[in-house]
């Protein structure tokens, strides 16, 4: 097949645009393992910076993972029942509540942090603990969990499933945990990955809320760029990348699986 100049010009443009995005990523990653970034690759490759980052910021990295997990637990416990109520008992009040819930996504993280500081800044034990940051993260991520779970619940005719289960003698809790939750699993999983990813990467709200003892991963990154060698900042990015990539890939895979789950169509040839 002969291809004309149009094909090649489009291919060229696509490659240039991809490089525009990919090259900085590669440069940054390389900088993290280069002995001296100002001399370039000729100075040799090393894992020294990665280890140095681990020595300096292991605390932040572990704290971030801890907060992300705690955030996940809270959003699961609060978000799944909330989504259920939103879908099962829609009313004007519930609509209003849903809007309120989504508000933290719309307003700047800084403003949200400021509100938390003004309200609870005086409660010293709480203010200086990681729970303070957790509060901010829950406010910010809860709507993502609720939306994700509610979307799946809205698509599955919960009322009918519950009536079916109830006719077989199942009480509310048995229906909820035996039928509703397992069938909402794709939404719960997608929401969970979203919450963990957002919590690990959250910067602007966390930056306002943190204390020197409650530094999270992204706050540590800003700190590293601001006050350390460029190689250390880049090595830090590398660690961040390694942590967050599997989550993003899992999220993508999950979304694809949801799309592929096709419904069987009944036809006249159907013999049973």
């Amino acid at each position: 097949m002969r291809r004309d100049w149009k094909f090649y010009s489009q291919l060229g443009l696509t490659i240039v645009l991809c490089l525009f995005i990919v090259v900085p990523v590669v440069m940054s990653a390389l900088a993290g393992v280069t002995v001296n970034v100002f001399k370039g690759l000729s100075s040799g490759l090393t894992l020294r910076w990665v280890f140095e980052v681990w020595d300096l910021y292991a605390q932040s990295i572990l704290l971030s993972l801890g907060i992300a997990m705690a955030c996940l637990v809270v959003t699961l416990v609060a978000g799944v029942p909330l989504a259920y109520v939103l879908v099962r008992r829609p009313s004007r009040m519930m609509r209003l509540f849903e809007e309120l819930l989504t508000l933290p996504v719309a307003i700047p993280g800084l403003a949200l942090a400021l509100a938390l500081l003004i309200t609870y800044g005086g409660v010293s034990g709480y203010r200086s603990s990681w729970l303070f940051i957790l509060t901010g993260h829950v406010l910010f991520t809860l709507p993502f969990m609720v939306r994700s779970v509610a979307a799946v619940m809205a698509a599955m005719d919960m009322k009918m499933l519950e009536e079916g289960a109830a006719s077989l003698g199942a009480g509310f809790w048995r229906r909820f945990f035996g039928v509703i939750v397992p069938n909402a699993k794709p939404g719960i999983l997608a929401g969970a990955l979203m919450v963990v990813t957002l919590s690990i990467g959250e910067f602007n709200l966390t930056w306002m809320l943190h204390t020197p003892l409650t530094k999270t991963l992204p706050v540590g990154l800003a700190d590293a760029y601001a006050s350390m060698r460029l190689e250390i900042g880049s090595a830090y990015t590398l660690i961040f990348f390694v942590l967050i990539m599997p989550l993003l890939i899992a999220m993508q895979a999950l979304a694809d699986r949801g799309k592929r789950a096709s419904r069987r169509i009944d036809t006249a040839e159907d013999t049973l």
Binding site: E163, A165, L168, L272
Partner: protein, 358 residues
């Protein structure tokens, strides 16, 4: 053995004030299959949901199963088997797990449970599907699973809410026959909701025809078909042709023709209708094509449809609206032709004419 269901003075008004059901009484005998028949919005599903415990009657209504008052009992406690139009199977479980669900809830020990599930699947001819996921099944297979699941727990009554509506015509007839055999075999009290007149006739020991939240008629399929008690029922069960006439001294006059031996009982007044204007409802067998010398009427053929075993004509010029008349499939009749026909007076259902003020 089978449970008798009694509904006394049951009415239903929804929260927004709309009256879904006028107060009614209904007794369903043990082992009987009763069909609630009517167009959508007539309240038939509301009655079914009341018996199930998914809706509660307005104050004053009483529902009892074999004399036990279950009016305030929730569905979980009533031991009713339900089959839904959209199946309501649990997608997170296999076929066998779906059928086992109710048994598990009732605490049936696992060995007995497995045996019961196997027996149910075998009875519904779906034993080879035991480990399939629900989304791998066809509509007909799904409805069999739903039936197996509902009867596995040995419910007191079986409630079926338009179970065949989502299936195609051929499958519907086949599954209908199977459900009929199943209900006879189990001897269970069953309430079946449908808008399909043929389905109702095939399945019901008795049929309750519903109209706008009220019971229009209760009777055996034969009574409903041959002796509809009001124009609504007549029209709904297929007697859609209409003519007007006059009763004079017990004889029916249509135009210049006079007919004897007409069953003109007016159920609303509990009396023989022997005087006054009447409306006549009839099916395609109420008139039949004939030669000119025996004809009562002559009309004009507007349309012809070939139905295989017969030819259906749409004829104008007889009565105020076009009527449908059946004739032999082999007859050659074209639209636009004149057709002579005879009235089969025994096939007419006579109602007093609706007067202008009523």
């Amino acid at each position: 053995m089978s449970t008798q269901i009694r509904l006394r003075n049951c009415a239903k008004t929804f929260a927004d004030g709309t009256r879904a059901l006028a107060p009614f009484d209904l007794t369903i005998e043990g082992g009987e299959t009763i069909v609630l028949l009517g167009p959508s919005g007539c309240g038939k599903t509301t009655i079914l949901r009341m018996i199930a415990g998914l809706e509660f009657p307005d104050a004053g209504g009483v529902i009892s199963f074999d004399g036990d008052d279950v009016t305030r009992q929730s569905i979980e406690k009533r031991r009713v088997g339900m089959v839904f139009q959209s199946y309501a199977l649990f997608p997170n479980m296999t076929v066998a797990e779906n059928v086992a669900y109710g048994l598990k809830v009732h605490g049936v020990p696992s060995a007995e449970r497995d045996a019961r599930v196997d027996a149910m699947l075998e009875m519904m001819h779906i034993d080879m599907l035991a480990d399939r996921r629900i989304d791998q099944l066809s509509g007909g297979q799904r409805q069999r699973v739903a039936l197996a699941r509902a009867i596995a727990v040995q419910p007191r009554v079986l409630l079926l809410d338009e179970p065949l509506t989502a299936l195609d015509a051929k499958l519907r007839v086949r599954l209908r026959t199977e459900i009929n055999a199943l209900l006879r075999k189990l001897g269970i009290t069953a309430v079946y909701v449908t808008h399909d007149q043929e389905e109702a006739m095939a399945l019901g020991d008795r049929i309750v025809v519903m109209q706008k939240g009220e019971i229009a008629q209760i009777g055996t399929p034969r009574e409903i078909y041959r002796k509809p008690q009001n124009p609504f029922v007549a029209d709904f069960v297929g007697a859609a042709n209409r003519m007007t006439g006059q009763m004079r001294d017990g004889r029916l006059h249509i135009g210049a023709h006079v007919f004897d031996a007409v069953d003109a009982f007016d159920p609303r007044h509990g009396a023989i209708l022997d005087q006054g204007a009447v409306e006549l409802y009839f099916r395609a067998d109420g008139l039949s094509p004939c030669d000119l010398d025996e004809a009562h009427f002559t009309g004009r053929v507007e349309a012809v449809s070939y139905l295989g075993e017969r030819l259906r004509l749409t004829v104008s010029g007889i009565g105020s609206q076009a009527v449908t008349i059946d004739t032999h499939a082999d007859d050659v009749i074209e639209a636009g032709a004149d057709v002579h026909c005879r009235v089969n007076a025994d096939r007419l259902t006579v109602f007093p004419a609706v007067t202008a003020q009523s």
